[in-house]
């Protein structure tokens, strides 16, 4: 393919650069007015206490939705929610082909089915290749905490980019192959212009550790707790870990019951695509409680203390079929995702109150991370030797440190390009040349709401100081017909009484012919009274109804 002198190769992240979550990387090729695009990943972020009432956050894809005719395809690197979670929500705005390896494709199809969306996901074999217009794409299998994590090598007439996706180096991953070092070295020999690379663990020295070591440790641990029920909680998508737990259990003469919907779902997906097929059958959730304690392992959802999850219900004694008693053991074969510390702590307190022994990665080797620590990053840069390092999959502090680290490894150039940065990679020196619209969209109930609309922020204000709504009814002459109706929520009773009086007084003394001004006066009077009697200012709305 010949290169037009006006052709450019650009990188544009719309998610995941400046945050951990909702990954969305765009790569563009061609002259600005006829540029073709491919997308790598289309993920979500889960909500938190700063955006109450919002469970799911998605990238703002306006930029690419407006150019969807030029979007040649979406490559999904692996099946974690921060990489595929937005597909059912946003694909209808894009309607382009999707590409993934079998396990990932299986899970995406399940999501599309559930959302009643008819879209095609083309299955690419592991280490397969395919072309999308000017982009020649090769998948390279890496290791992570889910089956089939793919790096995406994107060859273009102006150079090659390696999009690592999420990865680690594990000499004994137990499920899947060892990281394909040879393929990465070969790519490096061929010449790599730029690498967009996982920054999650850039502050962590050494290596993430191997699933093989966890397997040995968990086997010993489960053997050592004879005669007691054991529950293990892990991320359901960590199929290698599920296998680890199952083998350790069987080795100790125990059966494994799958407890929790997403655990059952993920095991079914794994088995449908050729994983976990050599294991003895799992026990039904309904039969879990019938296993003699000394023969039971419950493999549970709920490692993050999620409300309603299997372990959360077990902890408070509300799980019908999987009871735990004093002396039983819960193993947290997982880490606590930042922000979930209190929820997990509360669940552990409930377990402790029942006399259950709690084992975590603080005291035993029961978990390893799926992201590369510093020595692994150094290996990757040594193999791939990109001219430009582009940190992604990190908050700003991770990306800045990743940049410093890459430069210390003698990568010639490292550029931090937060979401919305249009980074030109070729021709000429790499540089941010433009800003594309980007941002976050909240799934607020079933209504998508732009973060900038401030709806969640408004509700946060309600959570601090409550709400007072005043309705003043006036007659045709502008005189109050009765005391105002005052509706409040989240305000102490004593204060409410004072607010009613203030509203009544203000309504009587306001000049009600200018309704807007009167409403504002009453609003201020009520807020002032709240400040005096409570020390806080609720949200106050005033409506004047003329009858």
């Amino acid at each position: 393919m010949s290169v037009n002198p006006r052709d450019e190769l650009v990188f544009l992240p719309l998610g995941g650069s400046g945050e951990i979550g909702m990954n969305l990387n765009l790569y563009g090729f061609g002259p600005p007015e006829r540029r073709k695009w491919i997308m790598v990943d289309l993920g979500i972020t889960f909500g938190d206490e700063m955006i109450p009432g919002v469970d799911i956050v998605m990238p703002d894809i306006r930029f690419i939705a407006e150019r969807r005719k030029d979007l040649l395809g979406i490559v999904l690197t692996h099946a974690h929610e921060d990489h595929i979670g937005a597909v059912p929500h946003l694909w209808p705005l894009l309607r382009c082909p999707m590409y993934a390896t079998p396990f990932t494709a299986h899970l995406i199809r399940a999501k599309l089915d559930e959302a009643d969306i008819n879209a095609k996901v083309t299955e690419i074999p592991l280490n397969g290749s395919f072309d999308l217009g000017p982009f020649s794409i090769e998948l390279i299998t890496l290791t992570h905490s889910i089956p089939e994590p793919n790096a995406v090598a994107i060859r273009t007439p102006l150079g090659t980019i390696l999009n690592t996706g999420d990865w680690k180096i594990d000499p004994a991953p137990m499920v899947g192959e060892v990281t394909d070092e040879a393929a990465l070295r070969r790519l490096g020999d061929e010449g790599v212009l730029a690498m967009t690379c996982d920054s999650t663990n850039v502050f962590v020295p050494g290596r993430a550790g191997s699933e093989g070591e966890v397997r040995g440790s968990l086997a010993k641990l489960i053997k050592s707790r004879q005669g007691r029920r054991i529950a293990v909680t892990a991320f359901a998508s960590n199929v290698a870990r599920l296998e680890t737990v199952a083998l350790a259990a069987y080795d100790a003469g125990r059966s494994v019951a799958l407890v929790g919907r997403s655990m059952r779902r993920m095991v079914a997906a794994a088995q449908a695509t050729g994983y976990l097929t050599e294991l003895p059958p799992f026990v039904n959730e309904e039969q879990a409680g019938m296993l003699p304690p000394e023969n039971a392992v419950y493999l549970c959802t709920g490692s993050q203390g999620e409300q309603g999850s299997a372990l959360a219900r077990i902890a408070v004694g509300e799980h019908r079929s999987a009871p735990l008693e004093s002396g039983d053991v819960v193993i947290f074969s997982s880490r606590v995702i930042p922000g979930n510390e209190k929820k997990v702590g509360a669940m552990q307190n409930a377990l402790a109150a029942r006399g259950v022994e709690i084992v975590t990665d603080q005291d035993h080797l029961v978990h390893v991370s799926g992201h590369p620590c510093r020595d692994e990053l150094a290996d990757m840069y040594r193999w791939v030797r990109p001219k430009v390092a582009i940190p992604v999959h990190g908050e700003l502090r991770h990306m800045m440190e990743h940049k410093r680290f890459a430069l210390s490894l003698q990568v010639p150039e490292a550029i931090v390009a937060p979401n919305g940065s249009m980074l030109k990679l070729a021709p000429g020196p790499a540089a941010i040349i433009d800003e594309a619209p980007s941002g976050r969209v909240h799934m607020d109930g079933k209504v998508p709401v732009a973060e900038g609309d401030g709806l969640a922020r408004a509700r946060r204000s309600l959570s601090y100081a409550g709400f007072a709504g005043v309705t003043v009814i006036i007659d045709k002459k502008g005189r109050p017909v009765t005391s105002p109706s005052v509706q409040t929520e989240g305000i102490p009773e004593t204060v409410v009484a004072a607010l009613r009086e203030a509203a009544d007084h203000a309504a009587r003394s306001a000049r009600l012919d200018d309704e807007e001004e009167a409403a504002e006066r009453i609003r201020r009077a009520v807020r002032r009274e709240a400040q005096v009697s409570w020390g806080k200012r609720p949200v106050v709305r005033v409506d004047i109804v003329r009858i």
Copy 2:
């Protein structure tokens, strides 16, 4: 003092047992109907996202307030907020003498002054003794992360209790004396019935580490960052750490500016009571920015990312007198208190965006804990040899593990007694014999609200799905006079339109002669419509006004 056969010695925690925060331990002696009490500590807990709009949480002290005539005094072990913070709020309900060592007394008096409360704090010298009715009290100086942490030895005719307060063992505490091992061994020789002991770090193996080591490490670190401004953030009450930073700075030819109100306040308190008096003078906050970068150390508040704190303002470039630029360094000489991870992360991202280097206890020895790890706990039990171990200062999981650990150290008995448990220690075997009213009181603005009132919970509901207030105006015949007034907050615009219509329709079709029933029907119709059009159910209030 002779023992009446009906005398009992009891322990009753009203705070801090089952949580980390708001410590309040009661010790009682005498027959049930004429029991005398002493209180050790009267602390607060800070609010969190689960109780929005509440900054301060206090123990419910009904039990002892009703018996305040029998409360002989309050001993305050040290000046951390979780031990003295509730004094200005709750002392007026108790009005009994208070006892503390000089530094703690100084800070309590400042609190009382600020709250305009006239109360006496009796100063007890370090390692001093005094009597309160049947209780003979001896203070034993330990080590912690604030000056003058005291264990309280309480001798009674039925036996001796050691209330450890917060402590660690530090062979080089830098400020204050080394843990008084001899006094503890002497007490052990004399015989100790029970020890109420700090559980914070019971899951952490080894020892907390020494301030002396931090001093060496920080000195090296500050020397190594030549030519750049350095900001250090630490807990202001950690006076030894402030001295560490100051000495490291002076050693590197730098001056130290105190930045942030509580930093200045704590230094003043320390100097007024004889600490930090050998240091060169600190630079004024106003002059901080005038120091040449190579000569500047800012000692800042804000280690937890607190909104409006010195470092939070510096991070976003809004601090007038203490600027940081690309290449400058911030050292977090502190840990992140669980729950503050996101706030601290956001502040670090803002610093990273300015090109500031961030150093934390993840990468350098810049902080040690003030609470005992397992080897220190083992030492303490070896010295004091109590008959009964009573874990306090911990969540349930910490207390349960502490119990297991104490038993493994051959302490004959260990009892977990959560807040409100009346634990009889003598005569006879130790046992929980009763339940006292206990709980949490929120300072909601300036109004104390019992947690059970659900006010904060009500506001949390608002934060999930907002508020809709409907006012229906009807005439004397019960017919709607106009469309209902609908006030909403935190609900998407499209949904609000649907809710208005639903309210209007429901008001027209309701039988309005039974106002209560009609209001409930309209409320349900509006909630139903919200569920349909939004997938969420806001708080809905309906008022019917007859004119």
